[in-house]
């Protein structure tokens, strides 16, 4: 009798775990409505595109590609800024990605200190990452990045 009860309890617990596993999004699913996982990447060989920063917006993720020689807080700021604007204005398309090479920019106002420190820290972390394969871009450094809520 005790064995049967314990077996039933275990089965119920596992069922609950299974339901919870379905309910909790995977690391790649949206963390909240309208926001998809964001990656920063510095490929060793930048794609043959005329852009200082390249954004990739896909149905399940955003990627900001930086040039190794030009991975600065400024370039990251511009990339993230445009990415935020595009996410607000341009709907994603099913099955399609949007590549946005930023061909040039000029920054006329300085970043505030909080943002600068945040992005500087992110870049330091990114550059310290080990070189690994990043899909068909070859090898490079990448890491997930989460924009803080404002």
């Amino acid at each position: 009798m005790m064995t049967r009860n314990r077996a039933a309890t275990v089965a119920m617990l596992m069922t609950l775990l299974a339901v919870a596993a379905f309910a909790v999004p995977s690391t790649l699913a949206s963390q909240e409505p309208g926001r998809v996982p964001l990656f920063l990447a510095i490929p060793e060989s930048f794609p043959d595109v005329d852009g200082r920063v390249v954004l990739l917006r896909e149905p399940g993720r955003d990627i900001v590609l930086l040039r190794d020689s030009d991975a600065t807080v400024e370039t990251l700021t511009v990339g993230l800024h445009l990415l935020i604007r595009l996410n607000e204005r341009v709907p994603r398309r099913s099955g399609q990605g949007q590549m946005v090479p930023i061909t040039g920019y000029v920054q006329t106002q300085p970043l505030n200190g909080v943002d600068y420190a945040l992005l500087d820290d992110a870049l330091t972390q990114l550059k310290a990452r080990p070189v690994a394969s990043i899909g068909n871009l070859g090898r490079g450094r990448s890491m997930p990045f989460r924009l803080p809520d404002r």
Binding site: T3, R4, A7, A8, A11, M14, T15, L17, A18, A21, F22, S26, L28, A29, F39, A41, P47, D48, V49, D50, G51, L56, E58, G60, R61, I63, V78, H81, L82, I84, V90, R93, S94, G95, Q96, G97, Q98, M99, V100, P101, I102, T103, G104, Y105, V106, Q107, T108, Q109, P110, L111, N112, D115, L119, S133, I134, G135, N136, L137, S142, R150
Partner: protein
């Protein structure tokens, strides 16, 4: 544990494993919204010349509306007859080499054009968009005209190329452009030994500006999530995330 309980536990365990697995147990959703890992990467196959918007019109000099014939140095040339007149003092020539540029509230544009004599001609026009005195973006349009050498007889022709940059701002940007103009004779395509009479000219547009932007209100705080204070130019390329094939281009924008 009874046999039934054991089977039930095994079934639940299998369910749990399936739920926790990152590998899809169903065929890939080609329609497309399955989240992809960083390593599933298909960077689009893209050629920069896909961005060039250009127009080419070629006509002989007898057509109505042909500009007055002057060399790029301003020398007046005699009027054309029936379009077969060959300037007496030049084997090949370029005249009316010019670059126009402008910027409005929705777009910046540049057009390079020239008339020429020769069976080959090329024009390369580069439009530059600036903000606060700094270049923000540039786009180059290239066009080459090829005419059959043996039946050309030196007919004056025209060549032009148009380059655009769309702008999402009605203030603060400026645009200017320059062009490299070339014309020559080439009896055998690709054979440099059969090439002669190469003429080159350079032209440049005026500097065209939008109105100055008003000063931002003092309450605005600058930062990543407001307005970092600047401008940028970009191009939007839509592609199939599974094949990397480019589907659509939204040309170039500045804002």
């Amino acid at each position: 544990m009874s046999c039934v309980s054991r089977l039930r536990s095994v079934a639940v365990a299998m369910l749990l494993v399936a739920a926790c697995s990152d590998t899809p147990t169903t065929p890939v959703d080609v329609a497309g919204d399955r989240p992809r890992s960083m390593l599933e990467f298909d960077f689009p196959t893209f050629r920069p010349d896909m961005l060039v918007q250009e127009s080419r019109e070629i006509f002989d000099g007898s057509q109505a509306g042909t500009p007055a014939r002057t060399t790029s140095d301003g020398e007046q040339l005699p009027p054309l007859g029936e379009g077969l007149e060959i300037p007496s003092d030049a084997v090949s020539d370029i005249w009316n080499a010019r670059t126009g540029a402008g910027i409005g509230s929705t777009e910046a544009w540049a057009e390079g054009s020239h008339q020429y004599q020769g069976n080959k001609s090329r024009i390369e026009t580069t439009l530059r968009v600036t903000r606060a005195g700094a270049e923000v973006g540039r786009q180059t349009g290239i066009k080459q005209a090829d005419w059959i050498f043996w039946f050309d007889f030196g007919i004056p022709k025209s060549l032009s190329v148009l380059v655009r940059y769309y702008v999402n701002s009605a203030c603060g940007f400026a645009a200017w452009a320059s062009s490299q103009h070339d014309a020559w004779w080439e009896a055998i395509p690709g054979a440099s030994i059969a090439t002669y009479g190469r003429v080159a000219r350079f032209s440049q547009s005026d500097y065209n500006t939008q109105p100055e932007c008003p000063e931002p209100p003092p309450s605005v705080t600058f930062g990543l999530y407001n307005d970092y204070g600047g401008g940028y130019c970009w191009v939007s390329i839509w592609y199939d995330i599974w094949t990397g094939e480019v589907i659509h281009l939204d040309v170039l924008y500045c804002e």
